[in-house]
Subunit: 121 residues, 2 copies
């Protein structure tokens, strides 16, 4: 099995789309993904999966129904399963995700932002 | 359930020991850990767990029996289960780990570097 390394900046240079996660690593049935945020995502939750968001560049706001958390570069937040959330980025943010391979980006909802098949880069 | 954020630099400022991972997050039965590397670790493997090493600061060399990979700041490497490996850091490196909650730092071997009970910080 390959044990090459992954350079986050290099992978991030390979795509421009927003809200379209790319798979860059896999371990223990979890995926490591990179995604670019800009604007408002859709409100959703995941029934079975907890999600980790680590800010690689920029910042974003994780909105919950009762409050919100500003997540800055070098910070991460874990959103537990079942919790409704919506990421919002006033300016482009680069984010690393760590979540089960089964995770759909829009969770329990389907929208034009739903990414059914993710590219591996 | 709490959904607070975690600042990597702040957590890293809370300890000085080398090769002693601290748990800073938990999701999907996986742990997020922070660890400081300096010098040579022990050769080991993990029977059941894949491990991800993301360099937050500095660099280290992941040695395998047949080659080695230099992992720089902003890069990660996944070591699949069963693969013997040894991290080596000529200068102090700060590393984030993602791995199953069951993972023991020295895998299949027991040494003075084995950390049986990890602190949560």
């Amino acid at each position: 099995m390959s044990v090459g390394k992954v350079n986050l900046a290099e992978k991030l240079s390979l795509f421009d789309e927003h809200w379209s996660p790319k798979i860059v690593g896999e371990l223990n049935e979890q995926h490591v993904k990179l995604v670019k945020f800009l604007g408002e995502f859709v409100w959703h939750h995941h029934d079975e999966e907890d999600e980790l968001f680590l800010v690689v560049k920029g910042r974003f706001r994780m909105e919950f129904r009762d409050r919100s958390v500003e997540v800055e570069e070098g910070e991460f937040i874990v959103v537990p399963r079942g919790i409704e959330h919506r990421p919002v980025a006033e300016e482009e943010a680069h984010v690393m995700l760590f979540e089960p391979a089964s995770t759909l980006n829009t969770g329990n909802v389907t929208s034009e932002l739903t990414a059914a098949e993710l590219d591996r880069i």
